[in-house]
């Protein structure tokens, strides 16, 4: 019952942010410029970490593919992590 009530409160707050005073943009926006600034700041701060982590994963994957190709050609040998290297020893 408590869980249902809490869920209902969360849903109400989410559907009526201005009434619940739960939205920075609605609360503090005295004019459209401030609202615009809040919106942009929210989008910027949400997208930036995702973009950075995404770019990092993409770069790492590309590098792994390139190194694997070089290893296959015998140009390099990839260093194994210590635990893996130790387990391979006879």
């Amino acid at each position: 019952m408590k869980l249902l009530l809490a869920l209902a409160a969360v849903l109400a707050a989410a559907s009526l942010p201005a009434t619940a005073d739960a939205c920075d943009s609605c609360l503090a926006a005295t004019n459209s410029a401030v609202q615009w600034a809040f919106m942009n700041a929210s989008i910027f701060l949400s997208v930036t970490p995702v973009a950075i982590v995404g770019a990092f994963v993409w770069w790492l994957r590309r590098r792994a593919q390139r190194l694997a190709a070089e290893e296959a050609q015998g140009v390099i040998h990839l260093q194994s992590p210590p635990a893996r290297a130790a387990s391979r020893r006879p």
Binding site: V34, F44, T48, F56, L67, E71, I76
Partner: protein, 188 residues
Amino acid sequence: MIEFPRRSAELLPSPVLGMLIFVFTEVMLFSGFISAFTIMRGSAVLWPPPGQPLLPAAETAFNTALLLASGVVLWVSRRRWATQLGKLRRGLLVAILLGGAFVVLQGREWVQLLARGLTLRSSALGSFFYLIVGAHALHAVVALGILIYAWVRLGRNLVPKNTLVAAEIFWYFVVGIWPILYWRVYLS
């Protein structure tokens, strides 16, 4: 058949990973500064605040060009002369001098702005200006220190390659984030 010794390689060396994580946190720090500045700027009725000087966007554009040139010189030096230490060292020195010129000219700009009444306490513009540009200047000075250290050690061939790459990443961060700060603080 002759077998050439194979070069050892790591997917992601520890100094590089450590620096990337550090740079990520720094990017988020500056993102927070920029967001706060954008909201404050949006809520201001008059901009710049009354009695406050205009920021010298044209002069700073020249400083920006110096900093960008420094990043480009470092990038090209590393790509072209990765194995020729003498030339690499010369390229690194040019990058350091360009970066140093940026810091010195920015310092001169600060002195002029302080004389014209823009201080940390004079207005919201002053507070944010010195916070954001000052934080960047601090990063630039530290990064220059690391580059100078690398340049000295490179002369004796004592810099591990991954340490040099980590130092480079930090400098690229200092160079890369500046145009965004310039655009938001000086031009918006």
